[in-house]
């Protein structure tokens, strides 16, 4: 079954590529708008030979990675503290509910004014967007801690730190990992957005430049690169999640929040 | 009414071949209440799913009223063991019971009548507007039974319906099934792994062997038609019958050496009472 699925999947991918080659070749869609796969592949190879491409890739990954690390650290810390202290949980709930749905792109003009095309612009957007994902999932996870387990730990004389370490953290971890996975995907979207719209250096800006200079195959090649990047991030995050939770009897589903 | 002839079901997948049911032949007459018992894992559920048209047998056939079953037939209703997964949690009790009727081209008033009547029969008229998950396990299984009744089946198949409810609820539900059978004259095939339940409920008990499954014995239950939990279960005849069924199942579990292909099981003590 597994082999069959892999085979079907490969066939699907091949079919998709053939379709993308055939549609412009047959003139169904103009080649000016949608170049055939082979020409995109050519452009991709040219990109790979260009030092500037690798710099752009590095810039994007820096903005993504740095922003993600900041958001994850802040999200976990804030999430644990807020949900462990009942008073904080009660008082912050309404504020979180209000701030979370604010689209991070609303901050674009502010980022432009404050930081121009610097890295900080990217970080502002990336951190704002991914912070909430981690925070919410962490809070959900901590609230899922079994009170009986907590009581048991207390009755055996475990201190606060030991309780957090041995009871709270293991329970919350699956949720935290889900939050990190979602945040990783969102962070890439915002990093590319910042580059595309603000013009911070990176793949996004390279796409904008390719578009304005009518370099259509190059633009598609770069879009494919961002897609592959997103794919690697998704697959990577899922693998890390599964590894880290291999001990867990039930790898939980996503929390609907 | 219901004929099973030479039924055989083999599961094949990922290089493994499992013979769940080897060769089953039996009949259930119209208006009869037959219980099927067998050791756990003997393919009872497989058999029932083949009979209801949910699974296609590898060979052999099932006839309902003389016509071969190829898909789920309209005159048959199924009550599953997992009531929690068989009732639709997004529908209220009333809608759960009504949904199958919507496929039957009945008038709205007739549908309402059937739903109300079925819920009345299982004593759940008050719960019509509730969601299934707001009810206890026993009540949920009552809803599933009401859904089957409203469908007006000729044959009712029940797959270990009370395996997941507590003992007292179970006794109530057993009496409910007997009562409904007597009132409505439906043909019921009731699968269980509980010997007492089989003897208490059935007019006839079919004992299945261990997998690969054949019919080990058919037993007529010569208890009076009027049964109740208090007296029937302590009647000497009840004790005799249940002891007999118990012995048969123990024998079935050990298996007849001729039927075994697995060398490891062959080493088990020779069953003294085995036929």
């Amino acid at each position: 079954m597994k082999a069959e699925n892999a085979l079907l999947g490969t066939a699907g991918l091949a079919g998709f590529l053939v379709l993308c080659e055939a549609v412009p070749r047959l003139g169904i869609v103009s080649e000016d708008y949608f170049p055939p796969v082979t020409r995109i592949a050519d452009a991709l190879v040219t990109e790979f030979g260009d030092q500037a491409f690798w710099t752009a890739l590095g810039d994007t990954l820096t903005g993504w990675g740095l922003g993600l690390v900041i958001a994850v650290t802040a999200g976990i810390l804030a999430g644990v503290v807020i949900s462990v202290v009942p008073f904080l949980r009660e008082t912050t709930a309404s504020t979180i509910e209000f701030l979370r749905p604010i689209p991070s792109v609303a901050l674009i003009p502010l980022a432009v004014l404050l930081y121009g095309t610097e890295l900080q612009s990217v970080l502002l957007l990336v951190v704002y967007a991914s912070f909430w994902q981690v925070l919410i999932q962490t809070m959900y996870g901590v609230q899922d801690v079994d009170p009986v387990a907590m009581e048991t730990a207390r009755s055996y004389g475990l201190g606060t730190w030991a309780r957090v370490r041995h009871v709270l953290w293991p329970t919350a971890l699956p949720y935290v990992m889900t939050g990190v996975r979602l945040a990783a995907a969102v962070a890439l979207i915002l990093a590319v957005t910042a580059e595309l719209v603000i013009g911070a250096p990176g793949l996004g800006r390279r796409i904008a430049v390719a578009q304005s200079s009518q370099a259509v195959p190059e633009m598609y090649a770069l879009v494919v690169v961002t897609g592959v990047l997103g794919l690697l991030i998704n697959v990577g995050a899922r693998t890390v999640e599964r590894r880290a939770l291999a001990w867990h009897q039930s790898v939980r589903g996503e929390v609907a929040v | 009414m219901l004929d099973v002839r030479g039924l055989k079901k083999v599961y094949e997948g990922s290089g493994r071949r499992v013979e769940a049911v080897r060769d089953l032949t039996f009949t259930v007459d119209a208006g009869e209440l037959v219980c099927l018992v067998g050791p756990s894992g003997c393919g009872k559920t497989t058999l029932l799913k083949c009979m209801s048209g949910l699974l296609t047998p590898t060979s052999g056939e099932v006839l309902l009223g003389g016509r071969p079953v190829t898909g789920p037939p309209p005159g048959m209703a199924f009550v599953f063991q997992e009531y929690g997964r068989s009732l639709f949690p997004w529908m209220r009790v009333r809608d759960n019971v009504e949904l199958p009727l919507k496929q039957k081209k009945l008038t709205t008033s007739r549908r309402r009548e059937l739903v109300a009547d079925a819920l009345e029969s299982v004593g759940l008229s008050d719960a019509a507007g509730a969601y299934p998950w707001q009810l206890s396990g026993g009540m949920q299984q009552r809803v599933a039974i009401a859904r089957a009744l409203a469908y007006e089946p000729d044959v009712l198949l029940m797959d270990e319906p009370f395996a997941a409810v507590d003992a007292q609820t179970r006794a109530d539900l057993e009496d409910l099934v007997r009562g409904l059978w007597q009132q409505r004259g439906i043909t019921i095939l009731f699968v269980t792994h509980d010997i007492d339940e089989a003897v208490y409920l059935g007019e006839r008990v079919l004992i299945l062997s261990a997998s690969p499954t054949v019919v080990q014995e058919q037993l007529k239950v010569d208890l009076p038609t009027e049964r109740d939990q208090l007296h029937t279960r302590v009647a000497p005849r009840f004790a005799e019958l249940r002891t007999h069924v118990y012995e048969q199942i123990q024998a079935a579990k050990r298996g007849r050496p001729a039927d075994l292909e697995d060398a490891k099981d062959m080493k088990a003590d020779a069953p003294p009472g085995a036929p």
Binding site: G9, T95, V105, I189, L196, N234 | L54, P72, S86, Y131
Partner: protein, 259 residues
């Protein structure tokens, strides 16, 4: 009564504290980028007049609605087909995984090639970004329909359209809503940046205009309005979800209590 007062305190205390802090911290601020909150709030009604709302906010919202609705219809329909057949799923999976992974904003320059810079482009951008979470969640939800439920439906002759409507889609609805929720936030992002990229009206366009003209308090009112919009849309979504998934939340609470 006392409980209610306490609850009100918990809901309002921190927001009030934050706004007050902002008010006083920014009062008398001479930093051009951080105008006093007083100035921003007094500018707000001047900037966002009824006419301005009609000229800028309404077109944005209509485009969002059109793109989102198109994505929902296509995503659920296609997702149901793909989710129902194992082989179709196996064929489509790698391609879908890739398409979903493409960050939606990079579609803006691609779609501009096809659709120019008009409304069509913006609706197409929003739809093509929103469709993936809806599609993939529908596939997942349809695939995971409980086997006992499927068999129940079959044994009672519930097939075809009735099965789809009463069993498959209802059973997948929690997953579908999870997808719709993700899609909503993506849709708002795309609404804004498609307007920042190329437009002559819309919320995103106007905010960027303010920023380019160094109308800083006006820009701040735009940011506030956008934030408010995001909040209101999420509240509306939650209301719709509560209505459609009331049974699901009840079921989940029940099983959580008993476990």
């Amino acid at each position: 009564m006392k409980r209610l007062a306490l609850q009100l305190f918990f809901v309002l205390a921190l927001p009030l504290l934050l706004v007050t802090a902002w008010w006083f911290a920014s009062d008398g601020s001479t930093d051009v980028y951080w105008p006093p909150l007083r100035t921003i709030l007094t500018t707000f009604p001047d900037v966002w007049t009824g006419e301005q709302l009609r000229a800028d906010v309404l077109p944005s919202l209509l485009r969002l609605l059109a793109g989102y609705a198109a994505a929902a219809v296509v995503g659920v329909a296609l997702g149901t087909v793909i989710g129902s057949y194992r082989r179709v799923r196996a064929v489509c999976e790698p391609v879908l995984e890739f398409l979903r992974a493409v960050p939606p904003p990079v579609l803006v320059p691609v779609i501009i090639l096809f659709a120019g810079i008009g409304d069509t482009m913006k609706i197409a951008v929003i739809a093509s970004g929103c469709v993936w979470p809806i599609l993939l969640n529908t596939v997942e939800g349809v695939r995971a329909v409980d086997s006992v439920m499927t068999e129940t439906a079959r044994s009672y002759g519930i097939t075809g359209a009735a099965r789809l409507r009463h069993v498959v889609l209802r059973s997948a609805s929690p997953q579908i809503f999870a997808g719709l929720r993700q899609a909503l936030s993506i849709g708002i992002i795309l609404m804004v940046i498609s307007e920042m990229f190329a437009a002559s009206n819309g919320l995103g366009f106007t905010i960027v205009q303010f920023q380019r003209n160094f109308a800083i308090p006006d820009m701040w009112t735009g940011i506030l309005l956008l934030g408010l919009l995001g909040f209101v849309l999420s509240v509306l979504f939650r209301l719709a979800e509560r209505r459609a998934l009331g049974w699901y939340h009840g079921l989940r609470d029940t099983s959580r209590r008993s476990s």
